[in-house]
């Protein structure tokens, strides 16, 4: 078996003096799509930020492709993992093409300017996110969902082996929710990527992820194949709200009581 793209061992997370996760260990392998579930404030974003190196864990270790996170030079790490932050804030106007082109940053030398090949990669990413023809639009004129897809396109252009996405389908209409998650699933299945995304829609999680990581408000974690984690009992416990699980027309549906 090959080295996991992400290996988390004994991770402890805290924020604001509160312990969020006591001990978390899991491996993300090439070809896997994981959803990260949990109520508000359970530590989903904190976990993603820790994995990406934005904050120190309280304990435990993170390894990217077999190498300890702290041993990765920033430029190389940017070719090993990419992050879609929950919010990006644009203060200045810029064209969609310029923003998405920033995803090529890790691959360009200090004095190198983007070339025709980079622009072609940008166009392909925009097409994949249903943004063909948006190249010259000003990001400040876009809707929230369109901006979200621009940020996703920039991540596609970065094209890391490991995708970390904080609420990738927030602000998206249902068509684009499915389009985005289908595309991420395809990247895992057909291109050997590993994907970890947070999501609040349990039905989308069950449909597109093959594994789940469920954070509870009490510091414990459930993890494993999606069908084993997303049970009525565990989901109800984690969210503090009764969740019913229905099987219908070959799909698994979750309905809050």
């Amino acid at each position: 078996m090959s080295v996991p793209l992400l290996e988390v061992r004994g991770l402890a997370l805290a924020a604001g003096g509160r312990i969020l996760v006591r001990e978390l260990s899991f491996c993300l392998n090439s070809g896997e799509t994981w959803c990260l579930l949990g109520p508000n404030g359970a530590g989903k974003t904190t976990l993603l930020h820790t994995v990406v190196g934005l904050r120190e864990p309280q304990g435990g270790s993170v390894r990217l492709a077999g190498r300890a996170l702290e041993d990765w030079p920033p430029g190389e790490a940017a070719q090993a993992r990419g992050l879609l932050p929950q919010t990006t804030h644009d203060a200045f106007s810029a064209s969609v093409a310029e923003i998405v082109l920033l995803g090529r940053h890790p691959y360009l030398g200090r004095w190198q300017w983007e070339g025709a090949g980079d622009r072609e990669i940008v166009r392909a990413a925009l097409r994949a996110m249903d943004l063909a023809g948006f190249e010259e639009r000003d990001v400040l004129t876009l809707s929230g969902g369109e901006r979200q897809r621009v940020a996703l396109a920039a991540l596609l252009v970065q094209d890391p082996p490991l995708f970390l996405l904080d609420e990738p389908v927030a602000h998206l209409d249902l068509h684009h929710q499915v389009l985005v998650l289908e595309h991420l699933g395809k990247l895992a299945r057909e291109h050997g990527k590993a994907v970890l995304f947070t999501v609040h829609d349990l039905n989308l999680a069950a449909r597109f992820a093959d594994h789940a990581l469920l954070l509870t408000p009490h510091g414990s974690v459930r993890q494993g194949p999606i069908g084993e984690v997303m049970t009525e009992h565990d989901l109800s416990y984690a969210f503090g709200h009764r969740v019913a699980r229905l099987e219908t027309a070959g799909r698994t549906l979750f309905i809050p009581e």
Partner: protein, 333 residues
């Protein structure tokens, strides 16, 4: 890349034109031919004397100060990710003003006024740095993903403190010294004969920050994303602050607190050229320099023999010009 070169070339020509105007204008009229002859062979003709002792040093000082301010403004806007940021937003001009006005109040000569300005600017830089040190290094506040607002607030509060001190000095100052103080505060190139330090600093600052220009583009998208794309965020933010501060300090020491250049030039260029810092930073330096050379020429000739503070001219021309750009491009406002 070719587009960038073309833009810089055009702006360099604009700057040269501004220089030509500055050298040709003044109380004693020099014909173009006379001007060229004096430039080619200075000798000790009256024309050569005027050019090399008065007009050229002053034009060079104006160019350097304008370039430094515009460069610092562009950098501060990136550092704070705020379009309203200018070189003075973190209180540097206040510190410099307190130093310069303090020296004037004590009746010291122009050398000490410059030294006072430099010392005040340095004090302001160190003060902000010491108070907001953690905000440079902090990658993200929980939930906010952005350390800029705290840095901005720290700077704004310190600036308010300086401005209280300035008002106090103005209140204590005898009538005879008030005029000089107000001119300094408005920004004034009268008697600015030391252009070399500012010009060298402009070149050094541009050379220091230019290799990181694409990193700045990424940083504009937020600290978290910049980190994920391989930018050493904390080190970059320190560097931006340091370069912008040194640039501002030298500009203020050379010419007082000239307003508007640092805010408006980067913005106007952004509206015209887009927001790629690789193009924008050198363009800001050239355009800021050209603007101040032209503005200073107007300041010393418009109401001659009366000399206006150049800051009045930059504001009077800058405000309508900027409004025009904004109106023309409403979607980009």
């Amino acid at each position: 890349m070719r587009r960038a070169m073309l833009i810089w070339l055009v702006l360099a020509l604009v700057a040269l034109t501004a220089f030509a105007l500055a050298l040709a204008s003044g109380s004693s009229h020099l014909a173009p031919l006379e001007l060229l002859r004096a430039l080619a062979a200075p000798g000790d003709s009256v024309a050569g004397e005027i050019l090399f002792k008065l007009r050229l040093p002053r034009a060079l000082a104006a160019f350097a100060a304008g370039g430094l301010l515009a460069l610092a403004g562009a950098l501060m806007q990136v550092l704070l990710r705020n379009p309203l940021a200018d070189p003075y937003v973190l209180g540097l001009s206040g510190g410099a003003a307190v130093g310069a006005l303090g020296a004037m109040l004590a009746g010291l000569g122009s050398l000490f006024v410059n030294l006072g300005a430099a010392a005040g600017a340095l004090a302001a830089i160190v003060l902000v740095f010491a108070l907001a040190r953690r905000d440079f290094a902090r990658q993200q506040l929980f939930g906010a993903l952005d350390a800029s607002p705290r840095l901005l607030l720290t700077g704004v509060i310190i600036a308010a403190g300086w401005s209280a001190l300035i008002t106090m000095i103005l209140t204590l100052a005898p009538e005879a010294k008030l005029r000089g103080m107000l001119f300094w505060l408005m920004g004034d190139l009268n008697g600015a004969e030391s252009w070399a330090p500012a010009l060298v600093t402009l070149a050094v600052c541009l050379a220091a920050i230019y290799p990181a220009a694409r990193d700045l583009n990424v940083l504009l998208r937020g600290e978290a994303l910049a980190h994920a794309l391989g930018v050493r965020v904390a080190a970059l933010r320190y560097t931006i602050y340091l370069v912008a501060s040194i640039a501002t300090a030298l500009a203020v020491t050379t010419a007082g607190t000239i307003g508007f250049v640092g805010l408006v030039v980067p913005h106007a260029l952004r509206l015209l050229l887009g927001n790629d810092q690789r193009v924008l930073l050198p363009a800001s330096a050239l355009a800021g320099g050209a603007l101040l050379v032209a503005a200073d020429t107007v300041a010393r000739t418009a109401l001659a023999p009366l000399q206006l503070p150049v800051g009045v001219i930059t504001a009077l021309f800058g405000v309508p010009a900027f409004m025009f750009l904004l109106m023309r491009n409403p979607r980009k406002a």
